[in-house]
Amino acid sequence: KRLTILKLESLWSDFEMGLLESDVALPVVEELRDGVIDDLLDKRVGLGMHVSHLVDKSLKKAIDSILIEPDIDLGKMIVKGKPLIIMFVGVNGSGKTTTIAKLAWALKKEGHTSMVAASDTFRAGAIEQLEKHCENLGLKLVKHKPGGDPAAVAYDAIEYARAHRKDVVLIDTAGRMQTNVNLMAEMEKIKRVAKPDLIIFVGDALTGNDAIDQAEKFNASVGIDGIILTKIDSDAKGGAALSIGSTIKKPILFLATGQDYEDLVPFDKGWFMERLFA
């Protein structure tokens, strides 16, 4: 017999609940539903075949095709004599500054020299926070006075990197709401001046549906090359990875899993799928 839309929809509602509770944004859940129903509608079901198992398989296939395999290898991108410029962006409190420190540590362990640009010139204690991290990791920090021009800080850092043959420049920017037109324009200016090789969006895994709007607007504004999702250790199911990944079709490069410099792991599709369906 063939699968009907009624049968599929009734089975789908359990899967839908699970996805929503794992923080996959509603529009993405609906997209997955359409994909699964498309895939299975009118399909012949043999005796003994469990339809819910078919839905499960189809869903996993759909998710697997949404998640882009991380194809950026930072180490391989480093060209001797020319600093690799990486700019970090995202909304307030998502974990940009801490993630920069972790990435610098990972690069250091692989034998690459990195330095940091304190382009968050607005928030209280932002420069001091970076100073502490750079002190811990033995990294050069380029900073201006608080209230200074973020683009100018990035520019100076890149000049320094060229003069001192640093492999990587990590540009820390201030958190900003994707709906704040002035701050989005400020971010675009930093990009114009710094001409980064990579722009990485740092997203909080605890984020719900707003992840879609964040990803869309940041991508439309400066273009995102890769995503790092933070606070995975807070037991966030991480559905935001799917929301963001499917919205802007960019790879998730790393997951941040805690407070320490070690807490940064390369994104693994299989691990993620297992966690989402746990």
Partner: protein, 286 residues
């Protein structure tokens, strides 16, 4: 104010002139979509919409009211019931402790609440009890400087419980003391214990959970854990100047019975508002 989707769904009832099962089911489905997109907890959405459906079909439409208005009233009523009316902080001597997950806005809110109470004529001191985050001391000290509030901290002390005990002994002349603590989440047993110890030593009359309005489905469980640890007296909802609807706030209230005290609407010390339940619900649905 309702989103276009909801307004369209309700049009059918307006045109029908009455509420029948088919039309209310359609409206309920659209309400569910709106609430889910606003990050309201999935099970809470089902509970609320089941109530709405039952009431819409069983309660008589009051005379002179369009059945469409009747449904809207039930919708608002159900959500405001879950949300609560909010509460105000007493404009009096008090100790306030701020807790919450990493990066949600505790330190910034400490300065905002301090500024708010200063404008009411109270002398406020900010107590820096985050011994974990690099730059935490400087961040709160600079904010205190910006608003002219007293600042108590110690860059060297690594034990936050000892620190709070010692700092509170130096703060006699202040009406209000706001204790800013480190970020933490419910799975970190040692940090939850630290939070309990700080509360035991600091004895704050107000224990406020800071909740980021962009939080998704995790909000309820996290709030519950904080509540079970130290007993929350209020919630502060932050980053409402963005596009997030703050649906996680419903769970934070539903799971803890703590009311929302303030709403953060920006990064500066003045960016704080008193919570308005009806306005919140209309933003949720808008």
């Amino acid at each position: 104010s309702l989103s276009d989707a909801l307004r369209n769904a309700l049009k059918k009832i307006a045109l029908l002139g009455r509420i029948d099962e088919a039309s209310i089911k359609e409206v309920v489905r659209d309400i569910q979509r709106a609430l889910l997109k606003a990050d309201v907890n999935v099970k809470l959405v089902l509970r609320v919409t089941n109530n709405i459906e039952k009431r819409a079909l069983s309660e008589k439409v009051p005379p002179g009211i369009n059945p469409r208005e009747h449904v809207i009233r039930i919708l608002y009523d159900e959500l405001v019931q879950v949300m609560g009316q909010g509460r105000s902080l007493p404009l009096d001597k008090q100790r306030i402790m701020l807790v919450g997950i990493y990066g949600q806005g505790k330190t910034t809110s400490a300065a905002k609440i301090a500024r708010f109470l200063q404008k009411k004529g109270l002398k406020v001191g900010l107590v820096q009890a985050d011994t974990h985050r690099p730059g935490a001391y400087d961040q709160l000290k600079q904010l205190a400087g910006q608003i002219g509030a007293s600042f108590y901290g110690d860059k060297e002390e690594k034990n936050s419980v000892k620190l709070v005990k010692r700092l509170l002994a130096q703060t006699e002349k202040k009406d209000v003391l706001i204790i800013d603590t480190s970020g933490r989440h419910r799975l970190e047993k040692d940090l939850i214990d630290e939070m309990k110890s700080i509360a035991e030593v600091g004895k704050p009359g107000e224990r406020l959970l800071i909740v980021d309005s962009t939080m998704g489905q995790a909000a309820g469980e996290q709030a519950k854990a904080f509540h079970e640890a130290i007993g929350l007296t209020g919630v502060v909802l932050t980053k409402m100047d963005g596009s997030a609807k703050g649906g996680g706030a419903l769970s934070s209230v539903a799971e803890t019975e703590a009311q929302i005290v303030f709403v953060g609407t920006g990064e500066k010390p003045d960016d704080i508002e008193i919570f308005d339940s009806t306005r919140f619900v209309s933003q949720l649905l808008g």
